[in-house]
Amino acid sequence: MKFARIIFANLLRKKVRLLLTLGSFAVALFLFAFLAVVRDAFGRGADVAGADRLVVINRTSIINTIPLSYRDKILRIPGVKCITHNNWFGGIYQDEKNFFPQFVIDAENQRQVFPELVVPDDQWAAFLKDREGAIVGARTAERFHWKIGDRIPIKTTLYGGGSWEFNIVGIYHGAQPKDDETQFWFQWDYFEERIPQAIKGQVGWYVLRLNSPDDAVAVSKAIDDEFANSTSETKTQTESAFAANWVKQFGNIKFLILSIGTVVFFTLLLVTGNTMAISVRERTSELAVFKAIGFSDRAVLFFVLAESLIIALIGGLAGLFFAVLAVPALGRALNGLLPSLVLSKPILGLGLVLAIVVGLISGMLPGIMAMRMRVVSALRRV
């Protein structure tokens, strides 16, 4: 393109300013990618939730338990295909910083309810045979360099306290990259064996699969009606609603991230808009010369917008590139506090679109000023 030389010559005229403006875009897009990834991770539970899965918790709160005896009653409700139950263990591996979620699972039914968390058959068989066996998510295994055959001590202050020993007999992988690979599962029988008598026979929550997602409302109502007025009333909700409520405990993450993101981009708009305005003002007489020798108003607008857009694209791509490098490091730094952080293509695409939009808007006003500039007046300013 024959105008490219003019555009790039103008871009490179003030190299320090160019670098600073590129830096502004890079930092803004880097922040955007980070915020989007974190927001995505918080919402991940709702996103990956099975449409045909319901979660049954104690109506009082999730920390209150439900009797194991509910299991068979729930299974009898029409529309329920299979059911498993889990307890939160809350143990510590060596140090409190080494957080990862540990769940007591119903070994017979866990795989039917969560088919997306894949365990090889031989490892599952080994798990069923070993009362102290544990299945661990691939990310957690990698994090602590665990391998099959390792014996792991986990301390807990709950359930009578003490150190519990587990044999790593299997490692599960998510069917998709966004599936949570940080969990640690062990058997209900081992759990029941070691906890105090007073709290035996109590599960944290049930997760069940339906024959059809269309049955969700009816089955939820039937379960909650079944246990109404009992000592442990239930609250049944879809897995996505459960995940969304879980995230709400942390505050309105979506609003918080949207607010920060808006401030970042508005500031970027002011910075780049001001830079472009200064750049155009400095070149008033040159732009007047362009117009005098026959370049149209549109050509002048094009020059300004092209400069702004190139800055936005280069700066934006640089920011997103750094985010691609940094997100895995952030994931490691969070030590499994959030499910896997994934900088997805939609986030990258949205970031690029935002950079282009900011680039165009910030170049538009000075561009229109340049377009409307009267040659005679501009030349007189020399």
């Binding site: 024959k2 105008f3 030389r5 003019i6 010559a9 103008n10 490179l12 005229r13 007489s285 040159e286 007047a288 010369v289 362009f290 117009k291 005098a292 020798i293 026959g294 370049f295 149209s296 108003d297 040659v375 005679v376 030349l379 020399v382």
Partner: protein, 245 residues
């Protein structure tokens, strides 16, 4: 032959009853009033006059950079005053070469790239553009400076690049606004010699504004503007009454 009484026939540049009025702070300022001018092809005309007499305004109007309040300007049969802004822009690219007092080169482009600018608006190929630019720079004696940036050139050389840029697209006429105003006497002399050469050997039509009588004396015709009216002229050679040639 240059005429100022509106009696010219089919001259290259025809100006008729030209008025230009500015309004400042509610007051009307009549810069040009009922101005007539006929300039034939190949003429070299100098406009002189005190500051505020309307010299630059006239040049801007002739170059299609400004529009008159009343009257008409016709160049090579095209009535400039009736054109839309976009048509006027295209017309300028085709017909007018500008030479400014302050050179007005683009500092981030080298001499070659500055001279090439008007050709970017044409359909010429890259090779054709290169040939034209090299020719123009040779005419002004800067063939060996084409990769130099404006900051690496002297004032006189910068003005030569401006002249090369003005002639590279072979416009119908050149408009020079104080082309030597920012140069020392020696450089000014060289620039004037170059402009004379363009007129004499390349048959260019040149309209020039200057304050300097010595510079004006090198034109075929000098016209004096005073308070917006062409009031007197200087004949550099024999011409019929009522005309300056």
């Amino acid at each position: 032959m240059v005429k100022v009484d509106g009696s010219g026939g089919k001259s290259l540049i025809q100006v008729r009853d030209l008025d230009k009025t500015y309004r400042r702070a509610g007051e009307e300022i009549h810069v040009l009033q009922g101005l007539n001018l006929d300039v034939e092809s190949g003429e070299f005309v100098a406009f002189m006059g005190p500051s505020g007499s309307g010299k630059t305004t006239l040049l801007n109007l002739l170059g299609g950079l400004d529009v008159p309040t009343r009257g008409s300007i016709t160049v090579a049969g095209d009535e400039v005053t009736n054109m839309s802004a976009s048509s006027l822009t295209r017309w300028r690219a085709r017909h007018v070469g500008f030479i400014f007092q302050m050179y007005n080169l683009i500092p981030v482009l080298n001499a070659f790239q500055n001279v090439e600018l008007p050709l970017l608006l044409t359909k010429l190929s890259k090779a054709e553009r290169r040939a034209h630019v090299e020719t123009a720079l040779s005419v002004v004696g800067l063939a060996d400076r084409m990769n130099h940036f404006p900051r690496q050139l002297s004032g006189g050389q910068e003005q030569r690049v401006t002249i090369a840029r003005a002639i590279v697209s072979d416009p119908t006429f050149l408009l020079c606004d104080e082309p030597t105003g920012d140069l020392d006497r020696k450089s000014a002399g060289e620039i004037m010699a170059l402009i004379e050469e363009l007129v004499e050997h390349h048959n260019k039509t040149v309209l020039m504004v200057t304050h300097d009588p010595l510079i004006a004396a090198r034109a075929h015709t000098t016209l004096h503007l005073d308070k917006g009216v062409l009031v007197e002229g200087k004949m550099s050679q024999a011409a019929p009454a009522g005309s300056f040639a």
